[in-house]
Amino acid sequence: MIQLRRALGGPVGAILLAFFLAACAMLVAGVSPLDGFSALFVGSLGGRQQIAETLVQTTALLFPALGISLAFRAGLFNIGAEGQLLIGALACGAVGAHFAAPTPLAIFVLLACGFVGGGIWGGIAGWLRAQFNANEIISTLMLNFVAISLATYLVSGPLKSPAAVGAETAPLPAASWLPLLIPDTRLSIGLIIAILAAFVLRWLFTRTVFGYELRASGEAPDAARRNGVNMPRTTLLALTLSGAIAGLGGATIVTGVLHRFNTQLSPGYGYTAIAVALVGDLNPLWVCLAAFGFGILEAGGLAMQALADVPKDAIHVIEGLIILVLAARRYIATRAEAAPI
């Protein structure tokens, strides 16, 4: 009973409240909320194809959200998951277009490319922070723009597939594709890899010396510094690993869904993932659940637009409201507990 009350006061309550506010907004816009929401849920959970598509979106959000969680737990506001994901996908796509090997090896190499690519991108911000104390919020954000420009240049020039109409790399050989989890859908085993990554991250946080020091530097930097934590090293490693996980996500989109790289591959997963990580309380397993929730919104949004004539942007309103309600709730909670015991 108490647990139910806490859940209602927590994320669940926030989501319900956000939906309520979104319903109000739909009423104002002259759409029946019932139609809108039923389209949303039918479009995301109404059948095998729909569920698979929701899980595709879940996977795409989960990787960057896990990366962000890792950085945030270290007290580093990595808002550059979008760029890290893109560079990871680019590295994977660029190599994958010219790389032929038996399936397991090909997949391993291509995913490693994404991991390393994203890691380098995150690592740049980490190095700047560790070496020059450059604010990582600014550097990671700026690196997003560098990433998109770099990717756009490369796929419209040097890496452009001669056969392609748009700006994209040549397709990956079928041997390099991630096996599908549900046949005849777009859902690959990327989802399994993402969930495994969540468990690894949880293990890292709770069981390892590195995770311990990472959390210490995030929660109490002064105490960490005093107690033998090498802060520059932890910062560099945390942002590198954070970027690497996002980059791995990019690679699973390339090898699992699109089978080539193009610059439109992310509709802003790296940004939405910030909300996913926060709603999941930066706890890897809760983040999985949050990613599923946001996956429903992402996948159902299109259906909502098509069936109920609610613009897909309304989904972003709901996402924004969830964050707002959660933030407000946390603020109220800290205020109530502010008094020392």
């Binding site: 390892t208 010396v209 929660e219 002064d222 005093r226 008094a339």
Partner: protein
């Protein structure tokens, strides 16, 4: 004869936290013009009661009636470090001219208030650049600015030097004479005897003793606090001295807290005590020893593998991760040491055993080992920091104010543990602003004044009066 109306009246106050009955059915009256002392062990519920009286916490049961504003000076200062003194004092109530803050009037108001209360302060100084003692004046001024009918002070002298304590009580006494009802929450029984009119003793959330100060003694209060006799402090044993730690001609820091040309040596099996008034470079010395700041001169240990234990000055910022459990905090600083680290992983069983050892050896009162340390009382938090520093047979212990903010019983325990570490062959560098503590523990005493060693005493030469004069800056 009608009894005077109390300025603050608490009736049947009760408050529980998960696993603890913090305050249980407490009645308390404070009268205008009196200084009332509330004493008790760490975690006895004093701070909780003060916070309820102030209104920061709600009581589960009971009533609070006050005849005016109630002010509370927290044990842990609630200041904005990057604002100036006057900005802190008038925060939220700045005098305005149109839509702007009238800075001149604000400054005058703060200096006027300071003067009126005999508190020396520079209104434009930034709070984070002030020593702890002065920061407390800012806290006090902020409360006084609201002209409270009742003023509650939670551990007001925990961070003050002896001279500051005297002037602090002068201020408080004058305030009481002008009709404010004052309650101080404290561990320091000498102060209770010297300055209060009445004493209430709390134990396990209840009031277990009420005394007129004039008619009681430290012993009687202490027994009521601990519910029996005090633990005795361990005896020093003779041990052989081999050099363990040496600093030579070390200069570091800048401004008022800089240290200049400090040389000292600590041998295994001895406690070297640094006596001195706070703000004479002790923090810089500590940082230099811990290798946290750049310095000239040399700091050397007998070998590179000397196991060290550090009791840092600010347990909240430097000693603990407040959101973490006792278990997680128990290994902070030793997360890479043998016995805790297993490859890339942390041996959680070993961490739990360490936590148990700390809790047992220093009698930490906590609902469970998995409770976040922020839910513990300040004294119990300090015990964890001390216990951790002494875990694993350290060869060198740097102890900065090891008994800050803890009650007499716990302080005796902490002091015993330090002496035991010494007897076991540890080199202990003790920095304390309480001369009594230095004299009780140290084999050798160094006096620090304005960033330099002003005198050195050992064995039979230790002379309290001369040390006191050197601390005050006169050539003895």
């Amino acid at each position: 004869m009608s009894a005077p109306q109390p300025a603050l009246r608490l009736r049947g106050i009760g408050r529980s936290f998960p696993g603890v009955r913090a305050v249980d059915d407490v009645d308390l009256d404070l009268f205008a013009g009196e200084i009332h002392a509330l004493v008790g062990e760490n975690g006895a519920g004093k701070s909780t009661l003060a916070n309820i009286a102030f209104g920061a916490l709600r009581a589960d049961e009971g009533t609070v009636e006050a005849a005016g504003t109630v002010g509370l000076v927290h044990q842990h200062f609630q200041l904005v470090g990057r604002l100036s003194v006057w900005q802190n004092v008038l925060l939220g109530r700045e005098p305005r001219r149109g839509w702007r803050i009238d800075a001149r009037q604000a400054r005058e108001r703060v200096s006027g208030l300071a003067q009126q209360n005999g508190l020396e302060i520079e209104p434009d100084a930034y709070v984070d650049e002030l020593p702890v003692g002065v920061q407390q004046r800012v806290e006090l001024l902020r409360e006084l600015e609201r002209e409270p009918a009742v003023l509650l002070l939670d551990e007001p002298t925990a961070a003050l030097a002896p001279a500051e304590i005297d002037s602090f009580f002068k201020t408080i006494t004058a305030l009481a004479q002008r009709g404010t009802a004052i309650m101080i929450v404290t561990h320091k029984l000498q102060e209770v005897i010297a300055y209060s009119k009445r004493v209430s003793v709390m134990r396990h959330g209840r009031i277990t003793g009420r005394f007129e100060t004039a008619a009681t003694s430290i012993d009687e209060i202490a027994r009521a606090m601990v519910g029996g006799d005090l633990p005795t402090v361990a005896q020093r044993a003779a041990v052989t001295h081999t050099p363990c730690f040496r600093m030579e001609n070390v200069t570091a820091g800048s401004g008022g807290t800089a240290i200049r040309g400090i040389s000292l040596e600590v041998a295994a099996g001895e406690i070297v005590g640094i006596a001195g008034v706070e703000g004479n470079g002790q923090t810089t010395l500590t940082d230099a020893v811990a290798g946290m700041i750049p310095h000239t001169g040399t700091v050397t240990f007998a070998s590179a593998q000397v196991r060290t234990g550090v009791i840092p000055q600010d347990r909240h910022r430097e000693g603990l991760v407040l959101g973490w459990s006792i278990v997680e905090n128990a290994i902070l600083g030793r997360q890479r040491s043998r016995g805790i680290r297993r490859g890339v992983m942390i041996d959680r069983q070993a961490a739990r055993e360490d936590a148990q050892r700390i809790v047992r050896s220093l009698d930490v009162r906590a609902a469970s080992l998995d409770a976040p340390v922020k839910t513990l009382s300040g004294g119990n938090q300090q015990k964890i920091v001390v216990g951790r520093a002494l875990l694993g047979d350290p060869q060198f212990v740097l102890a900065y104010q090891p008994t800050r903010g803890i009650d007499v019983g716990a302080a005796a325990l902490v002091q015993s543990r330090l002496i035991e570490a010494r007897n076991a062959g540890a080199a202990v560098l003790l920095i304390s602003f309480e001369l009594d503590e230095v004299l009780a523990l140290a084999d050798r005493v160094l006096v620090m004044y304005r960033g330099a060693i002003a005198g050195s005493f050992s064995g039979a030469q230790i002379d309290r009066a001369r040390i006191g004069r050197l601390m005050a800056g006169s050539a003895a």
